[in-house]
């Protein structure tokens, strides 16, 4: 339960972090709150030779209103995202979900950029950012670029991030009064991983569904959009939700593990998609 020995560097700026990543090569690993990385280092599932600590980059902790979207600094801790008034007012699903991650002591350390860069399909925030069609701002030696959530998550614990790139910011749309949202997480114990999670963002008009975006947690090697449900819900009436939700597992290949069989996960995805869309319609 003690990690393999490593060297430790403190990044003084994003540029410095990128320089350190270049200098130390692929065995170097960035650490922010460390609440995904330290446990897997303790289990010796990860053994980076160098840790580059981003946690002193206080200028990457912010939430800004940028007109159409909110910009959230990558180092913003989950607890601060959860309690942030701009997030609560304009993108409640992100604040709500940040409050579901671990427990308050975990949320005092973990960061939004960290949980996305970790790329765990069982994490809650990736599916939420996917359903919001959020974007990530990443910086490497050649400057900044933006990546859509759908391009960012590529495989189990594997993202579009190059070995010498750093996530700087997460951008999520400001949701208007006609947009309802819900994140439903099914787990057996409090603060457990989601066996299945469903994020729903629903645009409403005159009591009907204009369009819906559905993100699924733990239904494959990345967060997944339930595109068949999204198509079925486009222009649908609330009466059509149950039938549309029945295709939530279409095209998914969830894992069978200690927590649930693939078949049960598919069942859960259908049921919780219905519940999430229903809740979103009423919010």
């Amino acid at each position: 339960m003690i990690p393999v020995a490593f060297d430790y560097e403190v990044a003084e700026s994003v540029d410095h972090a990128i320089q350190l990543l270049g200098q130390h090569g692929e065995d170097a690993k960035l650490i922010a709150g460390g609440h995904s990385l330290i446990p897997i280092m303790r289990l010796r599932l990860a053994a980076p030779s160098v840790l580059i600590d981003l946690d002193r980059l206080e200028d990457l902790r912010y939430v800004r209103d940028e007109g159409e979207h909110l910009a959230i600094g990558a180092l913003t801790r989950h607890r601060d995202v959860h309690n942030n008034e701009l997030v609560q007012e304009h993108c409640g699903i992100v604040g709500y979900t940040a409050g579901l991650l671990g427990d308050p002591s975990v949320q005092h350390r973990g960061t939004i950029g960290g949980t996305l860069a970790h790329g765990d399909p069982a994490g809650d925030m990736p599916a939420v950012i996917a359903a919001l069609e959020g974007t990530l701002v990443v910086q490497g030696p050649n400057g900044e670029r933006t990546v859509s959530a759908s391009d960012f998550f590529q495989d189990y614990l594997f993202t579009d991030l190059e070995p010498d790139e750093v996530v700087k910011e997460v951008r999520v749309p400001k949701l208007g009064p006609d947009t309802g949202w819900s994140y439903k997480k099914f787990s057996r114990r409090s603060q457990d991983w989601a066996i299945v999670g469903v994020a729903a963002v629903v645009e409403k008009s005159n009591g009907n569904i204009d369009s819906a975006r559905i993100g699924l947690t733990s239904m494959g090697s990345t967060p997944i959009r339930a595109s068949a449900v999204e198509e079925a819900l486009s222009g649908a009436s609330p009466d059509g939700v149950a039938e549309a939700a029945n295709s939530a597992d279409e095209g998914t290949e969830p894992a069978t593990d200690d927590a649930a069989s693939a078949e049960f996960r598919k069942h859960l995805a259908r049921v919780w998609t219905r519940r999430a869309v229903e809740e979103a319609l009423n919010r």
Partner: protein, 179 residues
């Protein structure tokens, strides 16, 4: 090795540490502050909870080097001039412990909660302590039968949920006492 300077319970310490040394081991084995417990080692159980910059953190999942320049408070830094912190007194008076192993973490998490929310609801107290496990009394796994059921009245609540009901009840009482 890396030199760190950490202020723990009001005293500034400087040490050369290995980067892989965890904060909980630094507190217990280097500073000999053994009031902070080691439990699950995986950031679940909360026995190792301390305050870092005034906020609760699980010291088994923070490297000591990450605490460089920071202010740490452990359960042993709460009393002032021999007088217990009000939360310690409240836990004592309500007998909000049984074996006592989880208690330091419960107290630190409870103090952190009241710092953030001076007047928490019952639900907020439950949520705030969900990351602190009590093996004596605390978890609802169906109906607690046998000896565990006999213990319930001792802690004042028949209905149990995750976290320590005794701790929760105490935070509520404490909150009322502070109003």
């Amino acid at each position: 090795m890396r030199r760190i300077q950490v202020r723990v319970n009001g005293t500034t310490y400087e040490h050369e540490v290995e980067p892989r040394l965890l904060l909980v081991h630094y507190l217990r084995e280097v500073l000999n502050l053994t009031g902070t417990m080691v439990g699950c080692n995986t950031s679940n159980c909360g026995a190792c909870t301390v305050l870092m910059g005034g906020e609760s953190v699980k010291s088994c999942t923070v490297f000591a080097v990450q605490a460089d320049g920071r202010e740490i408070t452990t359960v042993q830094g709460l009393a002032e001039n021999g007088d217990w912190h009000p939360m310690q007194t409240a836990f004592h008076e309500n007998h909000a412990l049984q074996c006592g192993y989880c208690t330091p973490g419960m107290i630190m998490a409870s103090i952190s909660l009241l710092e953030e929310k001076p007047d928490p609801s019952e639900e907020e107290i439950r949520e705030a302590l969900e990351g602190n496990y009590c093996r004596c009394t605390g978890e609802r796994r169906g109906d607690p039968g046998g000896p565990r059921r006999q213990l319930l009245p001792l802690h004042g609540l028949r209905e149990h949920n995750q976290g320590c009901s005794a701790g929760r009840r105490t935070v509520q009482l404490e909150r009322e006492a502070w109003e």
